[in-house]
């Protein structure tokens, strides 16, 4: 497995280089510029971390559910609900609320709202036999719509699509990285990676959720309540995606904003698949994705932005085929 990874990345770089040649840029120069501009600046490194924070959490939301045999493409809805709740609670708190109260309360609100959506998806799956892919897609649209309509009716401030600021106590400190958006939610993401790893590898919960994912029938026969596991795992996955709101709202924008965090839920699927569903892998994949997107921006003057998007898909495809190739070589 591990041997194939560098091969896949090299192959993707080759494809990327061809695309660069197509648009008349010099691949060597572009790659070099990308690396130096990103790694050479504290600010850009911070941006990578900021992106990775959100992606790691939504990525875990996908990988955890997939472990239990559920394809959670409802990250957008779960994150959207988390952002909405986090901002709402953050603004509703009394102005002088100290951080020691405000931060946990807002964090919990984000997790609870995301968890509620995830739990609903899990419930419909377990109790109503409603395929989670369908319900996730529908929830994605519905949550975005409700946030927009409620936002513009009651929350957004005159003429803008931004809500009022959350109380200062709920703001997560930024990391001192050249004024970048990287903030302490990074530690929430790291803690989430560690927690998921531990639950998955070392506890009976993890044993049950993996068993349900691998063979729901065997799990049922062994006395595990498949429905309960599915609902709980989806609620947990939703909570993880919702937690990404801490980075967007409490760490960065300090307010509800239309479109905030949009795309992170879907990109989380890429992070989860690229990380091969392993929590630590998801973390690493998030960093890679963060690097690519910040790097793509940094070389925006050399190549069109579409190129980095294509590259993202190519990396994913290459990693998947390389994994399959190595598996067959081993067999």
């Amino acid at each position: 497995m591990r041997r194939s990874l560098p091969v896949a990345l090299l192959a993707s770089m080759a494809v990327g280089s061809i695309l660069m040649l197509v648009v008349g840029a010099s691949p060597g120069h572009v790659w070099w510029t990308m690396v130096t501009r990103v790694l050479g600046s504290e600010y850009q490194v911070g941006q990578v971390l900021y992106k990775a924070t959100g992606l790691a959490l939504t990525g875990l939301a996908v990988s955890v559910a997939l472990d239990a045999g559920l394809f959670n493409i409802g990250g957008e809805a779960q994150l959207g609900a988390g952002i909405f709740a986090c901002a709402l609670v953050g603004t509703a708190l009394p102005a002088g609320t100290p951080a020691i109260v405000a931060i946990p309360v807002c964090t919990l609100a984000a997790a609870a709202a995301g968890g509620a959506i995830g739990g609903a998806i899990g419930f419909l799956r377990a109790k109503r036999d409603a395929h989670e892919v369908i319900t996730s897609i529908m929830f994605n649209a519905i949550v975005a719509g409700v946030v927009l309509v409620e936002g513009s009716e009651h929350i957004f401030q005159g003429g803008t699509t931004t809500g009022p600021a959350i109380v200062p106590g709920a703001e997560l400190p930024r990391l001192p990285l050249g004024g970048s958006a990287a903030n302490c939610a990074l530690f929430i993401a790291i803690a989430a990676v560690a927690l998921v790893w531990w639950l998955r590898a070392r506890t009976t919960w993890g044993q049950a959720w993996l068993a349900v994912g691998r063979d729901p029938d065997a799990a049922r026969h062994a006395g595990i309540s498949v429905a309960r596991v599915q609902i709980l795992v989806m609620a947990g996955a939703g909570a993880l995606a919702g937690l990404a709101a801490t980075s967007f709202v409490m760490g960065h924008k300090h307010a509800l904003e239309e479109g905030l965090g949009a795309g992170t839920g879907l990109l989380g699927i890429v992070a989860a698949l690229l990380g091969r569903l392993h929590p630590v892998g998801v973390g690493i994949a998030s960093l890679l994705l963060g690097f690519l997107s910040v790097g793509g921006l940094a070389v925006g003057d050399l190549v069109p932005k579409e190129l980095t998007e294509v590259l993202l898909g190519v990396v994913l495809l290459a990693v998947a085929t390389a994994a399959a190739w190595e598996r067959r070589a081993a067999a």
């Binding site: 497995m1 997939l66 009976t204 068993a211 063979d215 026969h221 994994a323």
Partner: protein, 529 residues
């Protein structure tokens, strides 16, 4: 007599040689039995001959003509007149019987199924294996599905017909009918290769027997067939004598009581495997094994039954007459009416997990479908949802490992590495994992064992039966559900027979001895009594 098959075949899976120049010679117009332990290579050998699996070396001649093994595939084998009914069936579940039958020989871009359907129905009636050609294969009980495949194979008019363990799920009369049909076919010039674990079938029908052990041919025996010799050749040693457990006293406490238990409608067909198992395998480099498609079931009506401590009770019946519902109702896996009492405690409303906790041990009928998580290791399977071993929340990994090693030793599970994947074990060894997990539960009061030895070889059968007897001797009530009458006769103090969801009869004591016992139960099973 000309030779229909002359094969010397070698096959490797992942570097391991599962066939080492195994020889098989079959004379045209004979019935040839192929026997051997689980994993001896029987299925592999016949699959190569039928063109389903490619050989790594050797030679193969069909009807005297050498074939090119490198290019030998199913298409060529069909053209050469080779038909095969595979061990676990190979029909596509959502297709009807007739669709399965025409698959690959549709005779045109547009389907016209009616003539084939009629022909199949007529042929089935003629050979004593009645079938419904329009039924969806996965809606049929295992036995009916097997019948349908056999009839379809006969319909194609093969010159060489290979049957891989065809009788495991058939009722005794059906078995008799099938064996008679095979004899008739052989007389008519068709060559038959029959793979089986049942030596009485061999004796009843075979002209010649080839015994395979560990991928090598250990001998070919012609008439007169000596069952004991063949058995010795198969196992490589004498089989240990079976143990026995005395019948419990009449006042032994009732440990399992069923009161008017019923199950409405068909069971929801659970998916055989996790849906994203494939994805996880992609990441872990594991290979999967397909489970047979789930079957739809007959509902269960008004079952009342008691099992006493120390008693071994058998449930006989042709597959698909409610045995699965009965097991699932007792185990709490389907909603049911009526009362279930375990050691006097009413568990009718309890969940599956609670019933296990209350002292039930459940060996499901299909190890690939409910028994094991195939992708997980032996140790993980042994400790699956066993909080008494793992600990309540954080898993005590050292303890799990110790427990696994203990069980592996005590049941002689191979390989002995607790981290080996369950999927990579042979069928008998997989079954042992299930048995070990269930019978090692603390305070077992009732053992519910469905088809505990289906498809398992002679040696493993003996070991599994011993474990069940030991459980009874230790004071548990044991309920064995099996389609195999011989198993029930060898094991049980008392046997009840199920037909169309009801208990239609019971035999105990002397009525289970002697030659009539078998035929009497057989009549009950088919409703002839």
């Amino acid at each position: 007599m000309t030779a229909m098959i002359e094969a010397t075949l070698t096959k490797r899976y992942g570097g391991r040689e599962v066939l080492s120049a195994a020889r098989l010679e079959v004379a045209a117009g004979t019935v040839h039995a192929l026997v051997g332990e689980n994993g001896a290579g029987k299925s592999t050998l016949v699959k190569i001959i039928a063109g389903i699996v490619r050989a790594d070396g050797g030679s193969l001649a069909i009807g005297g003509t050498n074939v090119d093994l490198g290019a030998w595939d199913r298409r060529r084998a069909r053209a050469a007149g080779i038909g095969i009914v595979q061990q676990h069936g190979a029909s596509a579940g959502t297709l009807s019987v007739v669709e399965n039958a025409v698959l690959g020989a549709e005779g045109g871009a547009l389907l016209d199924l009616a003539p084939t359907a009629k022909a199949l129905e007529a042929l089935g009636a003629k050979v004593g294996l009645p079938i419904d050609p329009w039924a969806r294969a996965d809606r049929l009980p295992l036995g009916a599905a097997q019948r349908a495949e056999i009839v379809a194979a006969l319909h194609h008019g093969a010159k060489l017909l290979i049957l891989d363990e065809p009788t495991a799920v058939l009722a005794p009369v059906e078995v008799d009918g099938l064996l008679a049909t095979l004899r008739t076919l052989a007389k008519g010039g068709t060559t038959i290769v029959l793979v089986t674990h049942k030596l009485d079938e061999v004796r009843a029908v075979a002209d010649t027997v080839t015994v395979l052990r560990a991928g090598k041919t250990v001998g070919t025996f012609g008439a007169p067939l000596e069952v004991a010799t063949i058995a010795r050749a198969m196992v490589g040693a004498e089989l240990p004598p079976p143990s026995s457990v005395a019948e419990p006293a009449g006042d032994a406490p009732v440990v399992l009581a069923l009161e008017h238990v019923g199950v409405a409608g068909a069971l929801p067909s659970a998916r055989p495997r996790g849906r994203f198992a494939g994805l996880r395998e992609a990441f872990s480099g594991e290979k999967r094994q397909d489970a047979p498609a789930p079957r739809e079931n007959v509902p269960l009506a008004d079952i009342s039954l008691v099992v006493r401590a120390g008693e071994l009770v058998g449930v006989a019946g042709v597959d698909g007459n409610g045995q699965r519902e009965l097991a699932q109702a007792i185990a709490g896996l389907v909603p049911h009416t009526g009362g279930v009492k375990l050691g006097g405690e009413d568990i009718s409303r309890a969940s599956a997990g609670e019933r296990l906790a209350a002292g039930l041990a459940h060996i499901p009928e299909d190890r690939h479908h409910g028994g094991l998580v195939l992708e997980a290791s032996i140790a993980d399977n042994l400790a699956l949802a066993r909080r008494d071993i793992t600990g309540r929340f954080a898993i005590d990994r050292a303890r799990v490992r110790r427990f696994a090693e203990e069980q592996i030793r005590s049941l002689d599970i191979r390989p002995t590495d607790p981290e080996a994947r369950a999927a990579a074990l042979s069928g008998g060894n997989q079954q042992k994992i299930v048995i070990a997990r269930e019978l090692s539960r603390p305070h077992v009061r009732v053992v519910l064992a469905s088809q505990p030895t289906r498809g398992v070889d002679l040696g493993a059968v003996v070991r599994i039966h011993d474990r069940l007897r030991a459980a009874a001797a230790a004071g548990a009530g044991v309920l064995v559900i099996s389609a195999d009458l011989d198993e029930l006769l060898a094991l049980c103090h008392r046997v009840v027979v199920m037909l169309r969801g009801k208990i239609v009869g019971e035999r105990a004591g002397a009525a289970l001895q002697g030659a009539e016992a078998r035929s009497g139960l057989g009549d009950l099973m088919t409703g002839a009594a």
